[in-house]
Amino acid sequence: MRNRIKTIAAWLLVATLACGAFVAGAELRSWQTASTPPENVSAPTYALLKLTPEWSPVTLASTKQGTSENRELVSDVLKLLKVHYVEPITGERETAMAHGAVRGMLEQLSDSDSRFLDPKERKLLDDAGSGRLRGIGAVLALRNEKVGKLEITKIIVVAPMPGSPAETAGLKPGDSITHIDGKWIITHDPFTTPEMEKLRVAVRNGEADEFTYQEAYEAAFKKLKEGIQIHDALESLTAKSPGEISMRVERPGHKEPIESKLLCRGTEVDPVTGRMLKKGIAYIRISQFNKRAVREFAPELEHARTNGAKALVLDLRNNPGGLMESAKEVACRITGGGVIATIQEKGRQHTIKTPKARGLNMPVSVLINGGTAGVAELVAGTLRENVAASLVGAKTFGDGLLQTPLLLKDGSVAVLTTGKMLTAKGFDLEGRGLKPDKEVKQNERKGDAQLEEAVETLLTKLRKG
């Protein structure tokens, strides 16, 4: 009897366990369907175009209190999706949607510097800002140009960083990249280029046969079909993991495009380097205004002083700019403090002052070229205005727009153009750039002619002074 009860109890237990397992399985399944990870949430990666000359990123306390019909609309759409969409809106998926929303808004803006960076892309920007670049190791920008009726968006090399694959391959500021790995970057409408227009006129006048035109048309179509989008091109150029990349570049003043092949790898920029030149002239090069430059500039200057420097060549060529803080630090060590910039923002204007410091009190010459951009231009302008530094080299890039990175909770960032920088005396850099006091063309075979000119200028000043 007892045995039988025991057996029945045992089987009951087994049955209960089996039922439990069944329910557990069903529960796990329904829980799982409620949290399936998104399948193909893909968003374009926006390459970093330019470092951000901002003193501190902005984090907003969430502005929950405000409301408007616009906000209602977005929140209604989201609610409908949460209830009805065929796949569950998981946290991950909603985050991707949040990124999409911000990206969609920023794409509506007319300037290419306002952009969204997801946490991964932001890391690229942060790394680049502290001198660690990937891809070809150059800072790039987009520039719109018009040739006749044709609108072209060019990918311009602002500055190849020292020691980078781009520098090794001989890229120059102002080069525009037109092909990557044999693929044309879709920078314009290939059907309405001046060549095509010319050919069309020729056919109409009977100077060219239709077959030639048809061929040109097919070529243009093929080009378009096989071309790559600008954003994808930027991604390869600035974020590509180590590997070979080949490019075709157009260089102002060169008729033939230049083919170059380079090996992408990480580039670590040494922001401040210096040495003594002849006759008591110190040479300091700043390749990027980043946090390291803040720490390293003063000691380098001190080192020059103890070595008996009587004049300074400050090399800002191929310096794409960087952090305003860093630019302030460098400027005040030379000027002794004062206004470095006038900032125009929406509805207000203010000046940025550098802290008081021990000034340099010796003649200064600044080397600039087309790769001198952003706050680097600002420093060059300030030194000219405040300590009568002579600018030697070529015209600067002309980037005077100021961006503010707006940090979002998940570590992504919306970079917005919020102002414009002018030099202390009100010179507007944007789109114009600084002209050197002494324009010197660089001839690679004959060494550094610009540097020699800067040294000569300083020697003359020293003789006079």
Binding site: Q32, D76, L81, E94, E345, L408
Partner: protein
């Protein structure tokens, strides 16, 4: 030894109960053995996701509304430069938000687009009256069917390069159509490459209301009595018009039918079931899988199966989508007819349009569907039984090779049937 084998038995029982519970949901399709097999096939994948989902975390979650609002307000207050219209900015945010889902059918319709869509559902649309097709990356005009296109002297075979000076390279055909359509009286500029003409043609066309016949029918072949019905859209009138067309053709003693679903981009799900029911006797037409993975089979409506039975050929092309694919897929799976043409579009998703404040709307994918045999249309498209690809020459000479092949197939089949009848093996109908 005995207690040990008993233990193993108990463990096996518990594990299989667990798995049964786990697959229970996938069985809900009511498709008998098929369903069980399908559910079992899904099992490893389901378990894998269950395990990996466990490892994921939600630490970096960002609320879409908050992110939008933070950036929107900051931008409003601080953006240096020309500020875009807040409404357009918001629409762009919503579009970007929906784009992140990676499902192009879940999309935002601003008040204009919404209005346009509603008008199209009533049978008429505003545009230029040209049918388009995308092939090898080029968008061709395949057919002129409206006054504006006719007046502008557009021709079949013309390649559209630009719409309103914007290159259309990389856009899908639906997007190109969307750009060309617009309210009557407004103009659209097309840049066209015509073979043999060196200049790119730029034509400005004034849009108009294009009368749109949902059902077009005729008796194709007087001798063999092969009927032809083209269904352009699945809307509220479609089923009645289809019924009328069948009745008329039967009055003319139709013995075989070509159902043309080419260029039919779909419409209402219920209508697809009604139309399908006209050709399929009982059983399932489509299997819907809603959010949460539950599947339900939608059966044919027997009362609609009220016409005579004759050999059927269905024409499909790369623009046959959604409801067209439901009908074509069901006819193929249930062996009710032969499919002729090229691979269909491949849209196995069901959308619901939901209205928003201010006249805008959002189209949300609310379910997936599968053909009665469980094929995923989204992944596989509908393959024709007989592939007929129109050539460039066909396009120019306006020859319809697909239709000709369909008629030929029916004729052959009818010939065989006739032979059978003569031998007295079949009853004549």
């Amino acid at each position: 030894m005995k207690p040990r084998s008993r233990l193993i038995l108990i463990a096996a029982l518990i594990i299989s109960s667990f798995l049964c519970g786990f697959t229970y949901r996938d069985l809900g399709t009511g498709n008998g053995v098929h369903g069980v097999l399908a559910a079992l096939q899904l099992l490893p994948g389901r378990l894998a996701t269950a395990i990996t989902a466990n490892l994921g975390s939600d630490d970096t979650k960002l609320s879409a509304t908050e992110a939008y609002w933070d950036v929107f307000t900051y931008l409003d207050a601080n953006y240096f430069g020309e500020k875009p219209d807040p409404k357009q900015l918001t629409y762009a945010a919503i579009r970007g938000m929906l784009a992140a889902l990676g499902d192009r059918y879940t999309r935002f319709l601003d008040p204009n687009e919404h209005k346009q869509m509603q008008e199209e559902n009533t049978g008429n649309f505003e545009g230029i009256g040209a049918e388009l097709e995308k092939k090898d990356g080029r968008v061709f005009i395949t057919k002129i069917m409206g006054k504006p296109a006719e007046r502008a002297n557009l021709q079949p075979g013309d390649i559209i390069l630009k719409v309103d000076d914007q290159l259309i390279q990389g856009l899908d055909i639906a997007e190109v159509v969307k750009r060309i359509r617009g309210p009557q009286g407004t103009k659209v500029k097309l840049t066209i490459k015509r073979e043999g003409v060196p200049d790119l043609l730029e034509v400005e066309i004034e849009r108009a209301v294009i009368p749109f016949k949902i059902v077009v029918w005729e008796m194709k072949d007087g001798d063999s009595k092969i009927g032809y019905i083209a269904l352009r859209q699945f809307n509220e009138q479609s089923d009645q018009l289809m019924d009328d067309a069948l009745t008329e053709l039967e009055k003319l003693e139709m013995r075989g039918l070509v159902l043309d679903l080419r260029g039919n981009t779909g419409g209402l799900l219920e209508v697809a079931i009604d139309i399908g029911s006209r050709f399929i006797r009982g059983g399932d037409i489509v299997i819907i899988q809603n959010r949460g993975g539950q599947r339900s089979a939608l059966p044919a409506e027997p009362s609609k199966y009220n016409h005579r039975v004759y050999p059927l050929v269905v024409l499909i092309d790369q623009n046959s989508a959604s409801a067209s694919e439901i009908v074509a897929g069901a006819i193929r799976d249930r062996k009710a007819g032969t499919l002729v043409g090229v691979d269909s579009f491949g849209k196995g998703l069901v959308q619901t349009i939901m209205n928003l404040e201010g006249g805008a709307a959002v189209s949300i994918t609310t379910a997936k569907y599968f053909t009665p045999n469980g094929r995923d249309v989204n992944k596989e498209k509908i393959h024709p039984d007989v592939v007929v690809e129109p050539t460039k020459e066909d396009l120019k000479s306006k020859k319809d090779a697909q239709l000709e092949r369909a008629v030929q197939i029916l004729r052959e089949r009818l010939g065989a049937t006739q032979a059978g009848t003569r031998n007295g093996k079949r009853d004549s109908t």
